[in-house]
């Protein structure tokens, strides 16, 4: 029983990341009709926004410490962050410690701009081209973006820890009456799950309860008619692209303490997120979220030792296996709409 609860919990945070990325993918597909293979790269750029912000906070000047020596026997040069000079060591360190949550403020405008620039600069030229062309150009863009990140940040993962306040894990088992240590779950993963739920809720509320969202939904349903009403739907769709980029970026920022970011982390998520979108149903936002969590949890169950002893390798194929079964039984995915990707 405890093993099952544990894997459900594990699946929730994995599912949160899938759901957030798939939500952005579906938004772009539903509004602009573009299959965006660069969406994983947006997740990765979001993570590197956290790295960059962290580096900005730790900008330092060098002080020579005569009491210590470096590896060549010279007096040790110690980097002192400017924040120490400005706010004192304790406050400066506290600000640096909270770099990841604080970087959200930096990431949202950066990602909105990246999304806007990507759509206006490249993707808009491919609206009326076949999906194969869109896939090729966005996949190419993803490779370019990851190589640019590698050039500036190197190939090695960069540790970007969560604030000390969130270090360690919560003993869920003890709370539920099980023995201690049986069901533990890191605090930061709980934060990630709650954060994802808030972002997903906010995106749905934005589309459901604002005039802007209503117009966008109308445009997704019938672009031509909305255009005939004199509404500049393209402009709104461009903003939606920026919003989708920001969602992917935020997913990346908050993911950095879970796994140290590196230049190819976007590619690791991309294919799985596409499977999530297809399983959820092309163009269906609730479908993307549902499928994200469903596949995340299934993947966790398939990684259990007891399962692997019976079916070795299941953990590597489970997502694709489920995708095949769902597409055979429900060809439009879990919540797919008629007419989407069927023309």
């Amino acid at each position: 029983m405890e093993a099952i609860i544990l894997q459900i919990l594990n699946g929730l945070d994995k599912g949160s990341a899938y759901a957030l990325i798939a939500l952005g993918l579906t938004l772009i597909f539903g509004t602009l009709g573009v299959v965006n293979f660069a969406h994983g790269a947006l997740f990765m750029i979001g993570a590197f926004c956290a790295v960059t912000f962290s580096r900005i906070l730790t900008l330092s000047h060098t002080v020579v410490d005569e009491t210590q020596t470096d590896f060549l026997g010279n007096p040790l040069k110690v980097d002192v962050p400017y924040l120490h000079d400005l706010f004192g060591q304790a406050t400066g360190d506290a600000i640096i410690d909270w770099a990841v949550p604080l970087s959200i403020l930096f990431t949202v405008p950066v990602m909105m701009f990246v999304g806007y620039a990507m759509e206006r600069g490249l993707i808009k030229h491919f609206y009326n081209r076949p999906h194969a062309d869109q896939i090729l150009v966005t996949f190419g863009l993803a490779i370019v973006l990851q190589e640019v990140i590698k050039y500036f940040y190197g190939a090695n993962p960069i540790p970007t820890p969560a604030p000390q306040a969130f270090a360690g894990s919560l003993d869920f088992g003890a709370m539920l009456g099980f023995d201690p240590n049986l069901i533990i779950y890191p605090y930061w993963r709980i934060i990630y799950f709650i954060f994802s739920a808030i972002i997903i809720g906010a995106v749905f509320a934005f589309l459901q309860y604002t005039t802007f969202g209503m117009v966008v939904r109308a445009g997704m349903a019938d672009r031509e008619t909305v255009g005939l009403l004199g509404i500049n739907i393209d402009k709104r769709f461009t903003i939606m692209f920026g919003l989708a980029a920001a969602v992917a970026g935020l997913a990346g920022v908050m993911y950095t303490p879970i796994n140290s970011p590196n230049y190819h982390m976007g590619m690791d998520f991309l294919v799985l997120s596409f499977v999530v979108v297809v399983v959820g149903g092309m163009g269906s936002l609730p479908g993307a979220v549902l499928a994200g969590f469903l596949l995340g949890i299934l993947e966790s169950f398939a990684s259990m030792r007891e399962v692997l002893e019976i079916l070795p390798g299941l953990n590597q194929i489970i997502i694709y296996l489920v995708a095949i079964i769902i597409l055979l039984t429900r060809p439009r995915g879990l919540m797919g709409r008629k007419g989407v990707m069927e023309d």
């Binding site: 594990n10 040790l76 259990m304």
Partner: protein, 450 residues
């Protein structure tokens, strides 16, 4: 009246033979006029440095390349001479190798076996490389070693830790200075037993590929011999990034120690996840829970950040060693590049010097002569104390370092501290040891190529 012998069948036969000849890879034919593959005829000799320049180990590859460039500089008489000054052999005098100026070409292994073979092949065929060296993966090392064996050039392995490189897949033309999984297990086990006791229950997470298997086998064998019990060993996909679903059940198993048989990005992520789950803060079976990482590299420690603090592992070499060879190399490398060298840089630098020295002693670039000079060669002054290049399997036997993550690092390079220098005798094994492929594994015959 003359009768022509030119028949349709004859034409077909001749064409088939000629075609087969033409399609033979030039690697096997182009050098037929020479005594051996890529015999240097002018005033220079070309070495092929095959390192990951792209992909996840690109940073490690960059450090290897820096070391190779430094070695070439020293061989040609430039710089301060580095470890040439401390090397027990005094054959190398800064005038190149056998009086020929050393030049080099580079290839990108991408840490993929097929790409690594292609780049090595290109360096041999097109650039005339007489020796291939480098790499940051056992899969790549085994693949390139086999290619060099066929082509008739020497392969001086870079960073490869799997037993198989000089065990099951050893080759007469291949040589490894780096240590291996068996040695890590043999060096680590006593230190672990001393630090954590002999009554431990270990849970292994193992990367699902060749290196992972040999490391798990070696660490299990040596820790079980010390009295530890292995409660479970789970294979994790090489492409895995989030290890939470593998780490969460560890405590449920009753284990009090987690062994991460992971390298590179796998190790960075699994260790980060394990620390996130608070495993190290837990008490199991009345003991503090512990994590062990059999193979450390600086780049991995850097990627995992503060999570490595206090965690035991092993390493081939560390820049904080105080022997004359290490100090000379650190000074040379640090002055040129501004930071201390990694173990990958050290092993590749040393391999280049060892190759050059062997050629010098053999008086020939012929691979079989070089191999003979390297076999059972004992040397010192290159950073690991007295070392033997064993002839039976072409593996170096030297002291192994047991390290742990430093609690208070002074810089981004000061991440590990040496806990113990395990003497070579303690990590030495028989050439036909079962973990090395047993009696069936043989070097085969040396190949001079053309």
């Amino acid at each position: 009246m003359s009768k022509s012998n030119f028949t349709r069948r004859g034409l077909l036969k001749t064409s088939a033979v000629a075609g087969a000849g033409l399609t033979l890879p030039t690697i096997f034919t182009a050098q037929s006029a020479h005594a051996f593959t890529n015999e240097p005829t002018g005033g220079t000799v070309t070495l092929g440095f095959n390192v990951p320049q792209t992909g996840p180990y690109a940073d490690e590859g960059a450090d290897e390349l820096r070391a190779y460039q430094l070695a070439v500089e020293h061989l040609n008489g430039g710089g301060d001479g580095g470890m040439l000054n401390t090397f027990s052999s005094k054959e190398l005098d800064g005038t190149g190798i056998l009086g020929k100026k050393v030049e080099y070409v580079t290839g990108d292994t991408q840490t993929k076996s097929d790409a690594a073979r292609a780049s090595a092949k290109s360096m041999i065929e097109k650039d005339g490389a007489i020796m291939i060296t480098g790499g940051s993966s056992s899969g790549v090392a085994v693949a390139v070693q086999a290619l060099c064996q066929e082509a008739g050039v020497i392969f001086m392995a870079g960073l490869t830790h799997s037993n198989d490189t000089t065990g099951k897949d050893k080759k007469a033309n291949g040589f490894r200075h780096f240590f291996n999984s068996y040695m890590s297990g043999a060096a680590l086990a006593p230190v672990l037993a001393n630090a954590y006791g002999k009554d431990r229950k270990a849970y292994h997470l193992t990367a699902d590929y060749n290196w992972g298997y040999t490391t798990e086998e070696a660490v299990r064998a040596s820790t079980e011999a010390m009295g530890w019990e292995t409660v479970a060993a789970v294979k994790t996909p090489l492409t895995q990034t989030d290890f939470s679903s593998y780490i969460a059940p560890v405590l449920q198993s009753g284990a009090d120690t987690l062994v991460l048989n992971h390298y590179g990005g796998n190790m960075v992520n699994s260790l980060t996840n394990a620390v996130q789950f608070g495993l190290r803060d837990k008490q199991v079976n009345g003991k503090d829970f512990q994590i062990v990482v059999p193979l450390y590299s600086r780049l991995m420690a850097k990627g995992a950040g503060a999570n490595v603090k206090g965690i035991f592992g092993s390493t081939n070499w560390h820049w904080s060693l105080q022997d004359e060879g290490s100090k000379a190399f650190v000074k040379s490398f640090g002055t040129k590049y501004g930071f201390p060298p990694s173990q990958a840089a050290h092993t590749t630098y040393v391999q280049t010097l060892l190759y050059a020295d062997a050629v010098q002693r053999a008086g020939s670039f012929a691979p079989c002569a070089v191999a003979e000079a390297l076999e059972d060669y004992e040397f010192d002054g290159l950073g690991n104390g007295k070392t033997l290049y064993r002839g039976a399997d072409h593996q170096c036997f030297k002291d192994v370092l047991v390290v742990k993550g430093k609690e208070n690092p002074t810089s981004e390079f000061d991440l590990l501290e040496i806990v113990e220098v395990t003497p070579a005798e303690q990590v030495t094994y028989a050439p036909d040891h079962p973990q090395m492929g047993g009696a069936e594994a043989t070097l085969g015959a040396c190949n001079n190529g053309a």
